[in-house]
């Protein structure tokens, strides 16, 4: 198809990004810069939005919910890197989240370790664990991978429940200190909001950067066809394990934040249900879209709160909304974005695919 151009213009390390093959070098450079600018703009707008939101929320309970939206966003972004980009499902991510929370919790509450150090230890330990487990587990595909990760999540969950002396068992571990920075203690919703969202913004930046890099393109190639990706010289197996470990590491950081914000952890928050909720966040938001993940996390965290007005029927309505969203917006909520933007501008722009909307 694009043989001629390929020989002429495409650099060898970009061979596996089919789209670039059709562009000349100059066009590509231009499009890259344009893309970069657009990403930066998006990020800047989003950051301002995040900074200003507490003004609208005042000191109400919504601020408390928004803290959890931030934590869930990190988790959804982490899972999206694996599920949306590399196309590898995980039904055990709540386990990594829980490990981060418990390692931080036990180290600080029981052993009086510095919370920031504990967070680093947790992230390191969980990252290494995922890296080691990743090799055998990611050899599996499809349903088998889903089952293996599901099993992993359940094993971790059982560990939290059964190691009563260490974790406090089913009734939880309390007395975890808040994070501090110098004389500043993150002990109310407003401070926690800025703390958590700083981490979320960094996670977004990291993820967007990764998605637009060579590695990001390689991951998408694996997603489309692992065999083809390998043929083009991608070390698919290693890359999958790496992204799995990174994803777990991010979850662990989110877990540590959760532990210090809540000052309490119990196993019930890290069960299979929560793993499924995370997958739902990513899919509702849009696979392969970082901001989509944030949106998905926000919707799934805020919706139950808004629906409390319906009392006993809230679960039914909640389920119904999720069904309708997946039926009519299979590309996720972000697939609405181009339509929305064109409405805003009053003219129809060519809608970008879900991948390009990262």
């Amino acid at each position: 198809m694009a043989e001629g151009r390929m020989r002429g213009s495409a650099a060898p390390n970009n061979l596996y990004f089919p789209l670039t093959l059709t562009l000349s070098l100059r066009e590509r450079e231009f499009s890259r810069q344009y893309h970069l600018k657009r990403e930066l703009l998006k990020f800047a707008i989003f950051t301002i939005l995040v900074l200003l939101l507490p003004l609208a929320a005042k000191e109400g309970y919504i601020l408390n919910v928004l803290v959890f939206v931030g934590i869930h966003s990190i988790l959804a972004i982490a899972l999206n890197l694996l599920l949306g980009y590399a196309g590898q499902i995980s039904l055990g991510h709540a386990g990594f989240f829980g490990l981060g929370a418990y390692i931080s919790g036990v180290l600080t509450a029981t052993h009086g370790q510095n919370p920031w150090l504990a967070m680093c230890y947790a992230a390191g330990a969980v990252g290494i664990l995922a890296f080691v487990i990743g090799f055998p587990i990611l050899k599996l595909k499809g349903h088998y991978l889903a089952m293996a990760t599901l099993g992993l999540g359940i094993i971790i969950y059982i560990l939290f429940n059964e190691t009563v002396d260490l974790t406090g068992g089913p009734s939880g571990l309390s007395g975890i200190p808040n994070l501090t920075l110098g004389t500043l203690t993150f002990d109310n919703d407003l401070k926690n909001y800025y703390l958590v969202w700083t981490f979320t913004l960094v996670a977004i930046l990291l993820a967007v950067n990764l998605a637009n890099s060579r590695i990001g393109r390689a991951l998408r190639a694996i997603h489309d066809s692992e065999t083809a990706a390998r043929l083009m010289g991608i070390n698919a197996r290693f890359l999958k394990v790496q992204v799995f470990a990174l994803s777990a590491l991010l979850c662990s950081v989110a877990g540590s934040l959760y532990a210090h914000v809540m000052t309490f952890v119990a196993p019930a928050s890290f069960g299979f249900n929560f793993s499924v909720e995370l997958v739902t966040m990513v899919i509702i938001g849009g696979l392969g879209s970082i901001y989509g993940s944030v949106l998905g996390a926000a919707i799934l965290t805020l919706l139950p709160e808004l629906l409390r007005a319906f009392q006993d029927y809230d679960i039914i309505i909640y389920g119904l909304i999720l069904i309708l969203m997946t039926m009519f917006l299979p590309g996720g909520l972000v697939s609405m974005a181009p339509v929305f933007m064109s409405l805003l501008r009053g003219r129809r722009k060519q809608p970008g695919g879900a991948h390009a909307e990262a």
């Binding site: 000191e59 109400g60 009563v164 089913p170 939880g172 919703d189 119990a266 019930a268």
Partner: protein
């Protein structure tokens, strides 16, 4: 100009309205109405709503109606914290009832302690009120009290060698811990300490092991259906020693499941299931009969222990509001001064050093005879 007039007018209107119809007293409730702990949360929610309705029918508290704001925690501590924050910041409640589970309660404690809102938990875990937290009380009986009740009876019968068989979940492990910790105090020797899984369907091997020892009694700690299986297996094996179960099975459901094998089994239990058998002199009789009758009328179902915990929580708050006024401070201080409150779970005596308020007399020992409960004297 017109704006000033308007705001003055509005101000007068509001004060007038406040004077005529006293604002309702808002009480928050956190129950695990759905999720794995729904068997706790549902009867608790039903009972709390019922009691509040009854109080309002009777004219409320000092002319002010009660308003109950219930949020579902789904047994998840994250949701419990969000809901508690909402109750405090959005709904401005003066006190909180619940949560249903120990985990949820522990999660909510930092929130209520910081906001200085009194909370009356309906969960059983000892750590909720041990050590004592300024704003936290609870109504469900500690597991320790049930253990003491059994050991006391064993001592009376001069039985000193026992076997224990506990389920390997949070309820069983807490029971096992207490059984072992209290044994020495009552001069009891545990010869066999065995466990079974929550989903096991045959305990013959554990029971065979027990049969081969000098044990004079078997104590089993679990919730349905495990203990029923043990009762059946024990009968099949012809095990002659007396069998004690925990308060985890003090419901009609256990008798249904165990059938004939339930005969002669002894259980420490709250008084709800034997309300009509109690002598007139029992201080709790009045409360118990009221609860059982009201619940039957409202929901066409038998009231259970869990509903009882919520009943106690609402009534304790009612008493505190009557004496101390409808402010968080007043309620807390009056709650702590509660003495001899005869509720469903027992007779409550709170003090600055004790926010659980019950003794082992909160339990009675019942025996199963001809498929029904009989009080053991």
């Amino acid at each position: 100009m017109s704006r000033t007039v308007f705001s003055v007018f509005l101000g007068i209107l509001l004060t007038a309205a406040g004077a005529f119809a006293a604002e309702p007293i808002k009480i928050g409730a956190l129950f695990a109405v759905t999720g794995p702990a729904a068997f706790l949360g549902e009867p608790e929610r039903n009972t709390a709503q019922m009691v509040v309705d009854e109080i309002n029918k009777g004219g409320g508290i000092k002319g002010r109606k009660l308003e109950l704001v219930v949020y579902d925690t789904q047994g998840d501590s994250t949701k419990a914290v969000q809901a508690a924050t909402r109750l405090i910041k959005e709904d401005n409640v003066v006190a909180i009832i619940g949560p249903s589970t120990t985990g949820d309660s522990m999660a909510v404690i930092p929130v209520v302690e910081k906001a200085k809102i009194p909370m009356v938990s309906c969960a059983a875990g000892m750590k909720i009120t041990d050590p004592v937290k300024k704003w936290v009380f609870k109504t469900a009986q500690n597991d320790t009290l049930a253990v003491e009740k059994i050991y006391e009876h064993l001592k009376k019968r001069k039985v000193s060698r026992v076997a224990i068989l506990t389920v390997s979940d949070s309820f069983g492990s807490s029971g096992r811990e207490q059984l072992k910790a209290q044994a020495a105090k009552f001069g009891i020797q545990i010869l066999v300490d065995d466990t079974y899984g929550p989903k096991d369907t045959d305990m013959t091997s554990q029971l065979t092991k027990v049969r081969g020892t000098q044990a004079e009694a078997l104590i089993c700690w679990g919730t349905n259906p495990g203990p029923a299986v043990i009762a059946r297996n024990a009968k099949q094996l012809g095990l002659k020693m007396p069998l004690y179960m925990s308060h985890g099975v003090s419901s009609k459901k256990f008798i249904e499941l165990a059938g004939d094998a339930a005969e002669g089994i002894m259980i420490p239990s709250g008084r709800v299931i034997v309300a009509d058998l109690l002598p007139k002199s029992d201080k709790q009789k009045k409360s118990l009969m009221a609860f059982v009758k009201d619940y039957q009328n409202h929901y066409r179902k038998e009231g259970d222990h869990f509903g009882g915990h919520a009943w106690d929580a609402v009534m304790l708050l009612k008493g505190a509001i009557e004496k101390g006024g409808a402010t968080p401070d007043g309620i807390r201080n009056q709650l702590e001064k509660t003495r001899n409150f005869a509720g469903i779970g027992g007779i409550f005596n709170y003090s600055p050093a004790d926010h659980a308020g019950l003794t082992k007399d909160a339990f009675v020992l019942v025996e199963i005879k001809k498929g029904d409960w009989v009080l053991v004297k």
